[in-house]
């Protein structure tokens, strides 16, 4: 679709040789057409880099420009060959700022059939940029299974038939063998059986334990019959405009992460402290939102879930992403139980919740094992928790019978959950219904079963929290255009004019806060940096970007950029048929906690008011969901007005 006015953003072009390439960029986009089996490098201009930066900034614009239906009125669906799968990095990827292996996946996802922005790390971004590319744009559909191999200027679509059926870890192992490489010399992002079988919440997994998990991006890859992307660590060089400045900014960020109270535990233990901390505020989801008391989980002893004990329960070792000094990602070896000796990726908080508390399981060894099995099958561990917990509850209450499912699945039964995982990722039996994701499966069953299911009306599911005590996340998740949180957690909110604290159960305050924080996450997700290593003052992140590129990037500009990106995603979402009527939690998701710290706090009672406030604060039309012409003008997106508002604008 061609935007209407002359101020429309330029398509990435080769014509701007006049301006030197900013530092931090490799300089090329790699366009891969699976129908035609072609791969070609497209240089992009310094002006476009400045405007779109990379990551979701670049991906959102590509989706908007390239996924409209031919008549320009609608949007292609997730399984259409014209859908794009954008695997983007950003200008900081590959530089010595902590956590800069960044990958942002943008596509029309299978969950909401709308735009996606989902991140992973490892060494994808690093290896890709040292091969000379800032992003990969995949289009078309192949008839046979292929994988994309990139080694500097050698870019090939190779036969992947021998990889079909392998899980993601096996795929990486097989590609190590095939290329004779190991470790970070080869970054592999792939899909497992769930992606191959188009499970609606299939993820893309890479580098042993890093997952771009949201909105069924793995199903898109499966539909395109692209089994994996394997990138050799290239031999090209990256330049920074001010290399000393990059290291100085990296040091500032590192200092903040090590010492600031809001990031210190993350630095030490990654997201492990989430289990105990969130349980204290009633935000740890337990048994499919039926309770908020950990004591209701058989065998649960919260004292062994404190972060140090959780980590030390395993034989563990740091497994960091590019240039990262956090003590976050780890590989672990299980020491006890049935799975003794197995290597697993240390679960993130969301793994402990999705494969543990949400399904009523509290045995750390088996939860860690199930989490890695989810990664290997390539399902989103969050939606997995909501799906599996829902099936368990439905069986308990008789809404899903033993005959329907084929076996009995009780709360906390990890082995049974694993059996279900195999059924879902291979679409076997009742697994075929469940593979459609929580919302579609719940609607198919209907009745009281539907009332127990946790989802958003758009078709996505929330992150692994109980959002009934984190209202800002529920509002953000439901109003987002990208199937998951678009605004993100508040980090140093006062830096951008927001209050340090709000009443978390005052809908009005929450809505204003969510609207006021808007912009930051879309900016961060455009840089090729990890969301956790950017938990510092935005000013430091801007300094790193400025030093890398040579631009003078300010905090205000960063927020404006982020808001602009979110609006472009919203324009695509509207074209996909997403309306304000879908911005609601399901009955269970929006229910009132019956026990625990947030007992009695009823978000649904305030929901309409929250939406009213949020819409008014962000400058969108409450009725149609469209960004108002004035909002578009303020963000320099006048060119969107005509397509959104026609001649009324």
């Amino acid at each position: 679709m061609t935007p209407a006015t002359s101020t429309a953003p330029a398509k990435p072009t080769t014509k701007s040789a006049a301006t030197a390439r900013p530092g931090g960029y490799a300089g090329n986009l790699l366009r891969v057409d699976l129908t035609r089996r072609t791969c070609r490098a497209e240089p992009w201009s310094p002006e476009t880099m400045r405007e779109l930066i990379g990551g979701v900034g670049l991906g959102a614009m590509i989706l908007y420009r390239e996924t409209a239906t031919r008549d320009g009125k609608g949007n292609v669906s997730w399984d259409h060959p014209d859908n794009r799968l954008v695997l983007a990095t950003g200008p900081l990827a590959g530089l010595p700022v902590w956590g800069t292996g960044g990958l942002t996946v943008c596509t029309i996802g299978a969950g909401t059939n709308g735009p996606t922005s989902t991140q992973a790390n490892g060494f994808f971004g690093t290896n890709l940029k040292y091969c000379g590319y800032d992003a990969i744009i995949v289009q078309g559909q192949s008839k046979d299974w292929l994988y994309l191999y990139i080694n500097d200027d050698v870019v090939e679509l190779r036969d992947a038939r021998s990889l079909v059926g392998l899980d993601t870890w096996e795929t990486q192992g097989a590609l190590y063998k095939e290329t004779g490489l190991a470790g970070h010399q080869l970054s592999v992002y792939s899909i497992g059986p769930a992606g191959e079988n188009l499970v609606r919440f299939a993820a893309i997994q890479g580098d042993y334990g890093h997952v771009a998990s949201k909105n069924g991006c793995g199903a898109v890859m499966g539909k395109k019959r692209l089994k994996a992307v394997a990138i050799v660590k290239g031999t090209k060089s990256l330049r920074a405009a001010d290399p000393r400045g990059v290291v100085q900014a990296a040091d500032e960020i590192a200092h903040d992460l090590r010492t600031d109270a809001s990031a210190r535990s993350l630095y030490e233990y990654g997201t492990l402290p989430g289990v105990v901390n969130l349980s204290k505020m009633g935000a740890l989801p337990i048994k499919n939102y039926t309770t908020n008391l950990t004591s209701n989980v058989a065998g649960a002893d919260l004292s062994v879930w404190e972060a140090p004990k959780l980590r030390e329960n395993f034989d563990h070792r740091g497994h960091q992403c590019n240039a990262c000094g956090m003590h976050h990602c780890h590989m672990s070896v299980i020491r006890h139980g049935d799975q003794k000796g197995k290597i697993v990726d240390e679960p993130e908080y969301e793994g402990w919740s999705g494969c543990g508390w949400a399904i009523g399981a509290a045995d750390r060894d088996s939860v860690a094992w199930l989490n890695t099995e989810c990664d290997r099958a390539c399902v989103d561990v969050n939606e997995w928790g909501w799906l599996c917990g829902w099936v368990m509850e439905c069986q308990e209450k008789g809404y899903i019978t033993r005959e329907q499912l084929g076996f009995e699945l009780k709360w906390g039964d990890v082995k049974g959950a694993h059996r279900l995982l195999q059924m879902v990722s291979r679409r076997e039996g009742f697994g075929n219904v469940l593979a459609e994701g929580v919302k579609r499966a719940a609607e198919k069953l209907g009745g009281p079963a539907k009332e127990c299911a946790i989802y958003i009306e758009k078709g996505a599911t929330p992150r692994g929290h109980d959002h009934r005590s984190r209202w800002e996340e529920m509002l953000d998740t439901c109003t987002s255009s990208t199937a998951t949180m678009e605004t993100g957690n508040p980090v140093h909110p006062t830096e951008i004019g927001q209050p340090a604290r709000i009443n978390p159960f005052d809908g009005e305050q929450v809505a204003k806060y969510v609207a006021g924080l808007r912009g930051r996450r879309s900016f961060e997700d455009s840089l090729g940096i990890c969301i956790f290593t950017s938990r510092t003052r935005l000013e430091h992140v801007c300094r790193a970007l400025s030093a890398a590129t040579g631009w003078a990037f300010t905090v205000d500009e960063a927020l404006r950029f982020g808001k602009r990106t979110a609006v472009i995603n919203r324009a695509t979402a509207l074209r996909c048929g997403h309306t304000g009527a879908m911005e609601y939690p399901s009955t269970r998701y929006g229910s009132t906690p019956v026990d625990g710290p947030a007992k009695g706090q009823a978000i649904r009672a305030q929901w309409e008011k929250m939406l009213d406030t949020w819409y008014s604060e962000v400058g969108f039309d409450r009725k149609t969901g469209k960004p108002l012409p004035k909002t578009l003008k303020d963000l320099g997106l006048d060119w969107l007005s005509k397509s959104l508002w026609g001649n009324k604008a």
Binding site: P96, R239, H319
Partner: protein, 156 residues
Amino acid sequence: MSVLKLHPEKCTGCLRCELACSYMQTGEYQPAKSVIRVSPFEGHTSYAPYTCPQCAEGWCMTACPVGAITINAVGAKDVLDDKCVGCKLCTIACPYGTMFYDPATRKAFKCNLCGGAPACAEACPTAAITYEDVATADWLGDFAVERTARVLAEAR
């Protein structure tokens, strides 16, 4: 004297040392030109950095037919670019695999301890690479003896 000590058990494979080293070597970030390399072990679960141990024997110096490898002020074997003819004999002679050849410049290159302030040690976030004063330059030999004795004892 000071030497680079490597502590593989602390390495998390973040490869920040390679970035810092390549920047010192080339003025740009280009890990392919780093003279410290991080290798994966046990599949993908552990990593270890390695670089020139500045060995006492100095095989590279002995092999060089034009005397292009010298010992610099901080005790590191260093390649003199103006003398190196790019014959690669040093890369064959080195038993550690830490002599490199750059086809772009047609010269050999190696760790020169950054003139006494090694960038890799500075960049390492977990202190897996340290620059320390030691009694003997051949710390690697001592390490090998100690480790072999330990592994043998454990095997028994």
